[in-house]
């Protein structure tokens, strides 16, 4: 079977996500890049779900969306906490922990 064009989209999204994680300094930017990876996976699930038939793929994608929301909530809470104490959200400026 020939790969569906949307498969290239999802692979490109993952690549963009990894690139964003490696280059972004802002912690919120990194969180957004991680969302890209999660969305790429959701896209794959929906795509393959159509291929295979049944609702397994779609159901998985909905769970991924819900968990991505949880992750964003937890992530923003931690970033808020960090901002209160360290007065920064730039990931390369927090470096108290070293050994």
């Amino acid at each position: 079977m020939a790969p569906h064009p949307l498969l290239f989209t999802s692979c490109a999204l993952v690549a963009l996500g990894v690139y964003g994680i490696l280059t972004r300094r802002n912690a919120i930017g990194i969180l957004l890049a991680i969302e890209l990876i999660l969305n790429a996976a959701s896209l794959n699930f929906i795509l393959f779900g159509r291929w295979v038939g049944g609702v397994d793929g779609q159901a998985f994608a909905i769970f991924v969306i819900a968990l991505a929301a949880c992750e964003a909530a937890v992530g923003l809470a931690i970033i808020m906490g960090l901002y209160r104490t360290a007065k920064t959200v730039l990931a390369d400026e927090v470096n108290l922990l070293k050994g």
Partner: protein, 475 residues
């Protein structure tokens, strides 16, 4: 109308149900009463109830629950007990440690119990969706627990853990989606069947998918090269949380990985050589990096990476003996590592310092505590007749049995390296003079944790037959 399957599954899953509901109750209780004692009492009751239910569950035959989402077999049962043990011992430590504000004590204990449920689910998962949900349940609650002290170091550790963790679970999820695309299935047994009749042209894609899924699991058990977060997170987190992270997710990660490897057996051959090499690299990196550490939490973080390396031997050889050795070593690791962390809790609470120097002259200030600490460290180093030795003996034995003598040799050489930094702490405690002369009395709950861990480490080391009998029924 509730389906009969659902009712039956909930009945089988009652220990986790109680633990999960109890967690919510404890969070509410903490938020409403603002009293540490109330939250702790409720936690104790819930833990006791779920232990009773776990004992009852022991007798039930292997069964699938929730429409094939989870599998409650003897293997899962061992890990349910390990998860319960982690939560119970860490709650004892959390009660005495002073690094989390009493205002959030209810949330603290509640989140710890939620992690317990997640750990149990990781070991029971029989479906890709369940595996992902369980890992995320453990991860998300762990991020919050790490950042709970709310000072700069703890927040930084939380952020680092979150970013590394979210990246690795994203990669794992992408691998899962590819695996679903290749096989068209989500349940482990069905994937296994689909893989067996997979055309060889798709083998490479499938191996890539399995590799990506393995990245997520490797992150959870801090296997090199996915270990970079470990020392920073362990250093910044509250000590009891560090103790939980060093045992709980490692044990559950191994449980899930054992199941994943059984599932992808037909294509695992492509990944296996990488895991063999990384096993040796993991133990060597962990032990060498531990040599130069001065912060005791960082030292134990690297020691954990080394221990994970030994455990990976059991996974690499892929035999029943290997899995049995993993189970025995994890049981030993639970007691000896949490015991060591209980000592750290006692020392850090007393001195406020996390430096190895804080252990100086401990033998004069607290002879029993120092003796317990020495027992745990020697057990971690793998000296007979302690429990850690039995586990290591089985792991190296499993390697030799399956013709992988060099894995066993690497393990023995690493144990010798590890002895140096474990004995260094013992030297600090027994041979150097203390910084403060006043005696150190650990709090009662830490004494209980120390007692349980100490007795288990020594007794199971001298009489291991009970553990063998329990584990042998599993495989």
């Amino acid at each position: 109308m509730v389906s009969a399957t659902l009712v039956e599954s909930l009945r089988l899953w009652l220990p986790e149900v109680i633990l999960g509901l109890g967690a919510m109750g404890v969070v509410l209780c903490g938020a409403l009463t603002h009293r540490r004692a109330a939250a702790a009492m409720l936690t104790a009751v819930v833990l006791f109830a779920s232990a009773v239910l776990l004992v009852n569950a022991q007798a039930t035959p292997p069964a699938e629950g929730f429409f094939g989402m989870i599998r409650l077999d003897p293997l899962a049962h061992v890990f349910r007990w390990l998860a319960w043990g982690v939560v119970a011992l860490v709650v004892l430590m959390a009660w005495c440690a002073s690094d989390v504000s009493p205002k959030w004590f209810g949330e603290y204990l509640g989140l710890l119990m939620v992690v317990g449920v997640g750990l149990m689910l990781m070991a029971e998962a029989q479906h890709l969706l369940m595996a992902y949900l369980a890992i995320e349940l453990v991860s998300l609650t762990s991020y919050l627990l790490v950042a709970l002290t709310r000072d700069a170091r703890s927040s930084e550790a939380g952020l680092k853990y979150l970013l590394f963790g979210a990246l690795s679970s994203g990669i794992m999820l992408f691998g899962m989606s590819l695996l679903f695309g290749v096989t068209g299935e989500l349940a482990f047994p069905a994937i296994r069947e689909a893989l067996e009749r997979l055309p060889s042209s798709q083998m490479r894609l499938c191996a890539t998918a399995v590799g990506l899924v393995s990245v997520g699991l490797a992150f959870k058990i801090s296997m090199v090269p996915f270990h970079l977060w470990t020392p920073d997170v362990y250093e910044g987190a509250p000590v009891p949380v560090t103790a939980m992270l060093s045992v709980g997710p490692k044990a559950a990660g191994f449980a899930l990985w054992i199941r994943v490897i059984q599932m992808v057996e037909p294509v695992w051959g492509a990944i296996a050589p990488a895991v063999w090499w990384l096993t040796v690299v993991t133990m060597t990196v962990g032990n060498l990096a531990a040599l130069s550490q001065t912060n005791v939490k960082r030292l134990l973080a690297y020691s954990t990476i080394g221990q994970v390396g030994y455990l990976l031997i059991g996974l690499s050889v892929r035999t029943a003996a290997g899995i049995e050795a993993i189970l025995v070593y994890l049981a030993a690791y639970l007691f000896m590592n949490l015991g060591a962390f209980a000592c750290v809790v006692a020392v850090v609470t007393d001195s406020g310092s996390e430096s190895v120097d804080a252990f100086r002259g401990l033998a004069r200030r607290a002879p029993v505590l120092a003796l317990c600490c020495a027992v745990f460290l020697l057990s971690l180093a793998g000296l007979p007749p302690l429990f850690g030795f039995i586990g290591k003996f089985l792991l190296f034995g499993a390697a030799i049995q399956s013709q992988a003598v060099w894995l066993a040799v690497a393990g023995v050489v690493n144990s010798a390296i590890a002895l140096y930094y474990y004995v260094n702490i013992i030297r600090q405690m027994y041979l150097l003079s203390p910084q403060q002369a006043r005696p150190l009395r650990p709090a009662a709950a830490v004494q209980v944790a120390l007692g349980v861990c100490g007795v288990a480490t020594v007794v199971f080391g001298v009489f291991p037959s009970g553990v063998f009998a329990w584990i042998q029924g599993v495989i």
